[in-house]
């Protein structure tokens, strides 16, 4: 949406401006709809070559290269595009800014050991497959990025006399993705475009999905210079957010005639003062304020305040409604802070005198260790093992919420919530608001599995408490004693699900579950595994702890179908127990040995009539 090259000019003001930009950039990460993430396919894993990690100290951190190719939907190379390689961890700038050559190829050499995400920027294009989870690559891997032409929404904005409204910003709110799953949380989809002298706007590079189109509003992020900043935004066709008409965008298609009759109603002011953990108020550090709708969590307005300039804040042009207001700063850094959400009701008048106090955000840190392997077992070490190092691991702290729970407004939405160990295995996940978290792990290669997730001190129960119950984090708390123990010798299970009776077809959205068979593992969440089936019915489960499992196939629940990135079923004790009962009833048992690679496993699916009674909830 924005121009990519950056021309910095002249002296001190620019110094400040760029410093500010760092803050803001962190804040804005999820707004950008234009970036490709790598395909979630297996194409990338084709060449997991060994990397040398046994050399001199400096060279040791050099794991090698990530290479790849960027193509369009017809497989044609996209030349001279920007490709960004970012090391996993707290939000920061890209590790590498690359350009593609005439053949669409790119190459990042001399990368330090680590896990990297790879994305491309092609104006007007979107990723061919929308990745819900970030994909990571390690040195030696090949990345295939596929982009397709994005959709377009175009129309005019006119006033009540039918005259064009010139220079008003038109932006989009993406409410559902291309598969009709709701976009949760802050759904604003980019900075939008201004209308021209004819009132015409054209917004391009859109991912498939359902959008609301809105003229004006959105808040000020710098100087106010437009004549529309104190107006209430007008949603297509000429209404408020609640009554807005939805616009469907299909891949690469142009949706025309989305004409807006601009109302130009004066909005209200929501204002107050910031206090609390603002650090030293020197420099150009800034606080981002976000006002989002209580019901939908969608962003209504935002602004940016530099405490150095003044601690007062004000959001203009706010329509009547129920909102949550949060302030945050330095997200992704050690000094990150945020306010607790403040409920704000705007009804017919300005809301003033709001005091927002920022408190430091919490963190989870600890150590990843590789379990010592007894000499006896060493003999049976897996063959064709990839040499892997701990710093190629990625840990993500994910909120553990009741299904259907609303996203908390604002706080943390812009944080990556991820950490990656250094060469000593030490990791840190920053900028975490108070919540219950689960630690999700993305392991390099297929040889490791997660043995345990523990904290120092005696375990609360006989089970591994972190793995079973997650981690409760209080406001500003720093948990520092998490130990992730990994072990070598993981097993893998690949195969196919077929219908039990010949001639019948598999229902869509099936999942294969592995349920630990040992009775003492009932609550050992890290021993549960699940995988979705591809269109051929094939599945792949890797990084499995050796042991005995029940195999079970079942359709994804309606609730989970409505989620873009549903949280694993087994996080909830009741769901876990039910899954276990079903798996026991199905009674398909498998024992996986160290390093065992089971392939071409065939699993029969019988639809269980009892399943009908399963949870029926409002989407």
């Amino acid at each position: 949406m924005t121009r990519f090259t950056f021309y910095a000019i002249v002296v001190c003001v620019v110094v400040g401006a760029s410093a500010v930009s760092t803050q803001v950039s962190k804040a804005f990460t999820p707004f950008s709809p234009i970036l490709a993430s790598a395909n979630t396919g297996n194409e990338a894993s084709g060449q997991r070559s060994a990397s040398s990690n046994s050399q001199s100290d400096a060279a040791k951190r050099r794991a090698g290269s990530i290479t790849g190719r960027l193509v369009d939907e017809s497989g044609q190379p996209i030349p001279n595009a920007g490709v960004y390689v970012r090391k996993a961890g707290p939000v920061s700038g890209p590790s590498r800014s690359l350009g593609t050559d005439e053949d669409g190829r790119f190459r990042a050499d001399d990368l330090a050991a680590g896990a990297y995400s790879v994305s491309a920027y092609v104006p007007g294009y979107v990723p061919a497959t929308e990745a819900v989870e970030r994909e990571y690559y390690r040195a030696g891997e090949v990345v295939n990025l596929r982009m397709m032409k994005g959709g377009i929404i175009t129309g005019t904005v006119t006033n009540s006399s039918g005259e064009p409204v010139v220079g008003v910003r038109v932006s989009l709110v993406r409410v559902r993705d291309g598969e009709s799953r709701p976009i949760r949380g802050v759904g604003q989809s980019g900075g939008g475009r201004q209308t021209d002298d004819r009132g015409v706007y054209r917004i391009y590079g859109l991912a498939p999905g359902t959008y609301l189109v809105v003229a004006g509003g959105g808040g000020q992020m710098g100087f106010s210079s437009s004549g529309y900043d104190s107006d209430v935004p007008t949603y297509y066709p000429s209404t408020t957010r609640d009554a807005a008409a939805e616009v469907v965008v299909r891949a690469g298609q142009e949706t025309t005639g989305i004409d807006i009759r601009y109302r130009g109603d004066r909005g209200y002011i929501v204002s107050g003062t910031l206090s609390g953990s603002l650090g030293s108020d020197s420099g150009m550090r800034g606080v981002l304020l976000m006002l989002s709708h209580t019901a939908s969590s969608a962003l209504e307005s935002r602004t940016f305040v530099q405490p150095r300039v003044g601690r007062g804040f004000a959001l203009y042009g706010v329509p009547d409604g129920d909102y949550e207001l949060v302030a945050q700063m330095d997200i992704g850094t050690e000094s990150s802070a945020a306010s607790t959400p403040r409920h704000v009701v705007v009804k017919g008048s300005d809301v003033t005198g709001i005091e927002l106090s920022l408190v430091p955000l919490g963190s989870i840190s600890g150590r990843a260790v590789l379990e010592n392997i007894p000499e006896v077992e060493r003999a049976s070490e897996c063959k064709s093992k990839r040499i892997t190092s701990l710093d190629e691991l990625v840990l993500t702290a994910r909120r553990d919420e009741k299904p259907g729970a609303k996203d908390p407004p604002g706080v943390g939405v812009f944080a990556a919530n991820e950490g990656s160990p250094d060469e000593k295995g030490e990791f840190k996940i920053l900028s975490l608001a108070a919540a219950r978290y689960r630690i999700e792990m993305r392991l390099p290669g297929e040889d490791w599995f997660v043995r345990s997730l523990t904290r120092a001190g005696p375990p609360v129960s006989n089970q591994n408490d972190v793995a079973a119950a997650g981690l409760g984090l209080n406001t500003g708390q720093h948990i520092t004693d998490l130990t992730v123990t990994l072990a070598e010798g993981a097993a893998a299970l690949r195969g196919k699900v077929i219908p039990a009776s010949e001639g019948s077809r598999l229902p869509a959205q099936l999942r294969v579950h592995l349920v630990p068979a040992e009775p003492e593992s009932t609550d050992d969440v890290i021993r549960f595994f699940e995988a979705r089936l591809d269109s051929e019915g094939a599945f792949s489960l890797t990084n499995l702890a050796p042991g005995r499992y029940y195999l079970h196939v079942r359709p994804v629940s309606d609730d989970q179908l409505m989620e873009r990135n549903p949280q694993p079923l087994v996080w909830m004790a009741t769901a876990r127990a039910k899954l276990r009962r079903d798996a026991l009833a199905a009674n398909v048992l498998i024992e996986l040995q160290r390093c065992q690679r089971v392939t071409e496993y065939v699993l029969k699916y019988t639809s269980a009539p009892a399943r009908k009674a399963e949870s029926k909830k409002t989407p």
Binding site: A8, V14, T29, D196, Q220, F223, S224, A314
Partner: protein
């Protein structure tokens, strides 16, 4: 990278409005509604312009300031902005597709009005004409659209020479997914349209690893003098102003290390940037950085570098105790490696700052909100200046990381309310004023420096009377107030549409008020500014004595008939 794209958006926004000044808020005192008002009339092509939005904003624009107040013109084109407190304002019609006739102004078009308490100002009229449009399509050699490319506009005279360009909406200069651009609201005139990077821009690109398009003018020429000047009339539309770009040039990577000059050890976790240098080994002023830091063996990596000569340096966004020697490198047709940026431990200046001119505890307490800047004069190629520092509540301060040279200390009064009324009076070392700066040698820690900051509430209100002719619309009257027998920086302002001006926050004493008429010389976005023109005329001067809390009236007479002997070339 997504983070970067956003950072670009915001940074460039700030860059465009690089004047940050004290926010003078439009007070909203509900008890006593202010009685000031500004009225005027808006016409379009000589006829009344109804339903035009007229905006009013403080004359000094600042961050965190409310959106402009507004009024709408009636059927006769009249507008009235009411309930205004005294202050200095900019009034302008918000008509992006129309242009103010004969108006050429910089970032802020419109008229400045200095409004007294309860004053009713009339006759702030605007005569508009329809703007012109230039539209076309930008493609590559194969005819594929070039998306999201910035379009540059240069206004030229009959001979093709660059002339000043009025203010434009900065959001319209990008091509869309079809490669189409549409520039509107253009003052009638002649324009050259180009796309791509100018070789002499003096700027650098960061955060993009791809190649750059060479600057290409319509119709597909790279030489500015061969470009076709597009004629734009009021309300007219110049179409098919297409540009076909050549192949993007390859960009390169510059790598190296940042090392401690004393120990030779690599320095990890340092930020770094780079900028172009001139053949005279000077930085052009343009530079950029991404926020990336050196790795644990001190290595840095700068991507997307176009051929040219550059200097790389360590960047500090907070006060540090080092400075870096810029490392010069050149890129022609391959990557540059083994560049070594040497970081040296800097000298320091410490001391205490005191406020003179007030006993008010609230005023004295504001010392911890004030910022000191330091600038080192040097003949060498130097990295960009350090950020400003804050003083402690007791007034003590310490500036570190200074390179050797003559260090000038200044008070940073831009950007925040807390600095209002303060100005730097002098800097003393061992009781002696240091007018030319403080000499600091390598490794020296200068202590006992006294920074004397004055606080004043004096106000000069003035009126410029123009005789013997009329000012051209592109003339601005700049007023400077210089305190006699002091080292403080002069305060300045620009007279409003009625020739009025106000300078506030002056220290008590005798001032020389100088009036300098000047022509505004704005530049179009993305293009270097045209040479500035100054009227060849003696400034009008007058001395006044001001006192705290007192408004002093001044009248300055500008006689246009009385020309200098060697004036008007």
């Amino acid at each position: 990278m997504r983070t970067l794209s956003r950072s670009v958006a915001f940074a460039s926004m700030l860059v465009l409005y690089s004047t940050i000044s004290i926010p003078s808020s439009i007070a909203q005192d509900s008890k006593k509604e202010p009685a000031g008002s500004i009225t005027g009339r808006v016409t379009l092509g000589g006829k009344p312009a109804p339903r035009v939005t007229v905006m009013l904003a403080p004359a000094n624009r600042a961050l965190q300031q409310p959106p402009p107040a507004r009024a709408t013109t009636d059927e006769e084109g009249h507008f009235k902005l009411k309930a205004l407190p005294a202050g200095s304002y900019t009034v302008l019609p918000h008509t992006p597709a129309l242009v103010v006739a004969a108006e050429t102004s910089m970032a802020q078009p419109g008229k400045t009005v200095t409004l007294g308490d309860g004053e009713e100002v009339e006759g702030i009229d605007f005569s508009l004409v329809k703007g012109g449009v230039i539209t076309g399509r930008v493609t590559n050699a194969e005819g594929r659209p070039i998306v999201e490319q910035h379009v540059n506009l240069i206004r030229v005279d009959e001979r093709g020479q660059r002339v000043s360009t009025p203010y434009f909406n900065q959001f319209m200069f990008s091509t869309d997914d079809r490669g189409v651009y549409r520039l509107y609201g253009l003052s009638p005139g002649r324009y050259k349209v180009s796309v791509g990077d100018a070789p002499d821009s003096g700027m650098v690109r960061i955060g993009f690893g791809g190649g750059a398009y060479p600057r290409t003018f319509h119709p597909d020429v790279t030489d500015e003098s061969n470009a076709t000047a597009v004629e734009v009339s009021g309300g007219g539309e110049a179409t098919h102003i297409d540009i076909k770009l050549g192949r993007a040039s390859k960009s390169y990577v510059a790598t190296g290390r940042i090392i401690d000059s004393d120990t030779g050890k690599p320095l990890a976790n340092f930020q770094y940037g780079y900028g172009p240098i001139t053949p005279e080994q000077r930085m052009t002023g343009g530079f950029g950085w991404t926020g990336n830091r050196t790795n644990n063996i001190g290595e840095f990596r700068i991507e997307g570098v176009s051929p040219g000569r550059y200097a790389a340096f360590a960047v500090a966004t907070e006060q540090v105790d080092f400075y870096s020697e810029p490392a010069v490198f050149e890129i022609s047709d391959s990557d540059a490696s083994a560049i070594e940026i040497k970081v040296r431990r800097g000298s320091s200046i410490s001391g205490v700052a005191v406020i003179e001119g007030s006993e008010d505890a609230d005023v004295l307490a504001r010392i911890s909100k004030l910022e000191l800047r330091s600038y080192v004069q040097t003949e060498d190629l130097a990295a960009p200046a350090m950020p400003a520092i804050r003083m402690n509540p007791d007034g003590t301060f310490r500036i570190t990381g200074l390179r050797p040279g003559k260090v000038r200390i200044s008070l940073n009064t831009f950007g925040y309310e807390a600095a209002k009324g303060f100005s730097l009076m002098r800097v003393e070392r061992e009781g002696a004023a240091q007018r030319d700066g403080i000499d600091v040698v390598a490794g020296e820690n200068v202590s006992g420096v006294r920074v004397v900051i004055g606080y004043g509430t004096c106000v000069v209100r003035g009126q410029v009377r123009v005789q013997g002719g009329e000012l051209t619309p592109d003339t601005r009257l700049r007023i400077m107030a210089r305190r006699l027998e002091s080292d403080s920086m002069p305060a300045s302002t620009v007279a409003d549409a009625r020739g009025r001006f106000t300078i506030e926050g002056l220290l008590p004493g005798e001032y020389e008020i100088t009036l300098n008429p000047m022509f505004v010389t704005p530049s179009s976005p993305g293009a270097p500014p045209p040479p500035s023109r100054l009227p060849n005329r003696k400034p009008v001067k007058q001395n006044v004595t001001v006192a705290n809390g007192v408004e002093t009236e001044v009248t300055l007479v500008l006689d246009l008939a009385a020309k200098d002997k060697d004036g008007e070339k």
